[in-house]
């Protein structure tokens, strides 16, 4: 009798414990790192995955400037996360270093990969092998304040179509008076400017960054023309004085403050405006070049990849495939006013009637992303030849000298 009582207690306990152990062993929770500035859209996607999949992903936001160091040290120590979402420009360096798992066969067999945005395909391919896919996309665009356009006597529905028109319209807006400016750019932010200033040059036919020491660097008349127009706008007081020291802090707020007519920005602005400034009257268009019809954009955002040495590679691969699925693209991205990374889904129910998002989606298809090693050295660092060129040309006025110096330095870096 006593034995049967003991069994009656012990059996359910044992079954419960076994169940708990099974859950612990087979739940296969995944770890994922995401750079802090892309954590919001990344979380939307991960939350959606967690709602519909047994294997749960735990997302950790890493400060942008620490992500490279942390990934490098974790891969070398054999303690990498299962998945990682990072700024796409680091892809060439990471692929060459052997930090990422090869996804070629899996992605080539996936029909959704065929309609993946070309820029993401390009940046994630190294020596004909594929190592990642676009995760939370972004692209640079031009925005204009329609209210200021009206006040300046400009047609609020007609955006500038060349860099010269940007200058002309900025002049008219600047004439509205004190504390109203025609144009804005963050003068000490290398990343912001490769994002919004370089497409003006690329649209005009310029080639910016060298892939190696023999490649062209800063070639094309558009570079000089764009810098010259910026320089003139700066000298004419059409750009706020504080822009010279803006390292990106006011990259967005300068426009949302309402006293700037035209500015380059990213697609991320759209959801922010919807949430915080729903009544702000502004337009979105592609970044123009020197002549009408020339357009471009810098394709940015994050790619998702699998660091080598992760413990749950099989499930991580499932996640990469899922990222390109209709569910992830429409319910995870489009539903939240984030661009899709598949061209066949750019025209969807969530974007219908939203001209701003549609214009941004066009920019994503027309945009470019430079495939170079040591992008941080050439562009993103605080002392890069790219930012030195912009500052010397625009604020010091030595346009030709600035281009020459930056070109030599970029080629030196690319040849190392």
């Amino acid at each position: 009798m006593r034995r049967s009582k003991m069994l009656a207690v012990a059996l359910p306990l044992a079954v419960g414990l076994a169940g708990l152990m099974t859950t612990t062993v087979f739940a296969q929770n995944l770890s994922m790192w995401v750079r802090e500035s892309a954590a919001d859209p990344g979380k939307l996607m991960v939350d959606l995955w967690n709602q519909t999949h047994e294997a749960q992903i735990e997302l950790t936001a890493i400060p942008d400037n620490q992500l490279v160091t942390k990934l490098a040290t974790s891969v070398r120590a054999g303690d990498a996360p299962d998945l990682i979402s990072f700024d796409l420009i680091y892809m060439p360096d990471f692929m060459r270093a052997g930090f990422l798992a090869d996804l070629t066969e899996q992605l080539q067999a996936d029909p959704n990969y065929e309609t993946h945005i070309q820029a993401y395909k390009d940046i994630a391919t190294y020596e004909d092998r594929i190592y990642g896919v676009g995760f939370t996309p972004d692209v640079s665009i031009l925005v204009w304040n329609k209210e200021l356009f009206r006040q300046a006597g400009l047609d609020p529905e007609v955006p500038p179509k060349t860099i010269y028109e940007i200058h002309d319209m900025a002049t008219q807006i600047g004439a509205l008076g004190d504390d109203t400016y025609g144009f804005y750019f963050a003068g000490s932010c290398p990343g912001c400017n490769i994002f919004v200033t370089s497409p003006l040059m690329v649209a005009g036919g310029a080639h910016i960054l060298p892939r190696n020491g023999e490649d062209a660097a800063l070639e094309g008349d558009a570079i000089r023309e764009v810098l010259d127009q910026y320089r003139q706008m700066w000298e004419e007081g059409l750009i706020p004085e504080a822009a010279e020291v803006d390292a990106g802090e006011n990259f967005v707020s300068a426009f949302t403050a309402g006293n700037v007519g035209i500015a380059g920005t990213g697609g991320f602005l759209l959801s922010l405006m919807e949430r915080q400034f729903p009544d702000f009257d502004y337009g979105v268009t592609l970044l123009p070049g020197l002549e009408e019809g020339q357009v471009s954009g810098f394709v940015g955002g994050d790619v998702v990849a699998i660091p080598t040495g992760g413990a749950n590679e099989e499930v991580a691969r499932e996640f990469v495939t899922w990222v390109l699925s209709d569910e992830a693209q429409l319910e995870g991205l489009a539903k939240n006013s984030i661009l899709t990374t598949r061209t066949d889904l750019a025209d969807n129910e969530y974007f219908a009637g939203n001209e701003k998002v549609q214009a941004t989606a066009q920019a994503l298809e027309a945009g470019y992303v430079p495939w170079v090693f040591r992008f941080a050295d050439m562009v993103n660092s605080d002392s890069s030849p790219w930012i030195n060129m912009l500052q010397r040309a625009i604020f010091d006025g030595d346009v030709d000298g600035a281009i020459e110096e930056a070109r030599a330095r970029m080629l030196e870096i690319a040849s190392q």
């Binding site: 000490s188 020291v245 605080d382 010397r392």
Partner: protein, 291 residues
Amino acid sequence: MLSTNNKYVGLLYLSPALLFVAVFVFYPLVQLIMISMTSESLLGGGEFVWFDNYLLAFSDRSFWMSFWFTVRYTLIITPILMILGFLLALLTMQNRPLAQLTRGVVFLPVVIGLASSSLLWVWLFNQQVGLFNKALVDLGVIEEPLVWFNRANLGMTAVIVSVVWKVVGFGMIIMLSGMQSISHEVVEASMIDGASYWQRVRKIILPLSARAILLATLISAIGSMLAFDQFYLMTRGAPRGQTFTSVYWIYQNSFVYFKLGYGSALSIILMVVIMAGAALQITLQRRGETA
């Protein structure tokens, strides 16, 4: 004379500290020296290159620019910190309630993190909403709000103001401890002899707290030569890299350009320079004491 047993017991007592120093100081230092002789990248790879990184460093214009900028920063900020610290220590030397309160208020910023205080000052120096510009305009010192970080000298001035506010209390406390250890008899004797306040300061307090002042100067000078956070957060090297400090440049090379080997070599060079400077300072002080 210690017996052999006593020697071993002494060594046993010392061993935790020795182990700590070996693991956390000597081992990393040896590793650093080894990496500095390779072309190791943060992303992996690299080979042994002997002294190539050191030779490269001597022709690296940006490194020497950042080094001389750091020296200039140190030469300006150290005397300010020492003189202000000394005067504040004099002011709060007596253990009266008001002096104690002043001591507490001046020391308070020392416990705030340098990163937090730098961010606070970035906001205070902001051209549009910063209180510092507003105060200067209202006082008639400047006509229009300044953009503090678009000129190297202005940027450095802003950093110096913020750092002085942050750490002057530390020097004050060290010097105060030196002053309070001076025997009352000596001071009272000088008063009986008719020495004025400033004569007592010059002839008694200053020489007798010289060791504390040297310690505060050393700590301040070494801290300034290793400046990073304040410039990283306030100037970001702007304009055109003119406000890069040596450590900032080492950080750039190691973690932004991925050149771990080269960054390690720069660290070793900086370490040797700082050690030489500190040794010189101590030697000069000792000569002064024996003269």
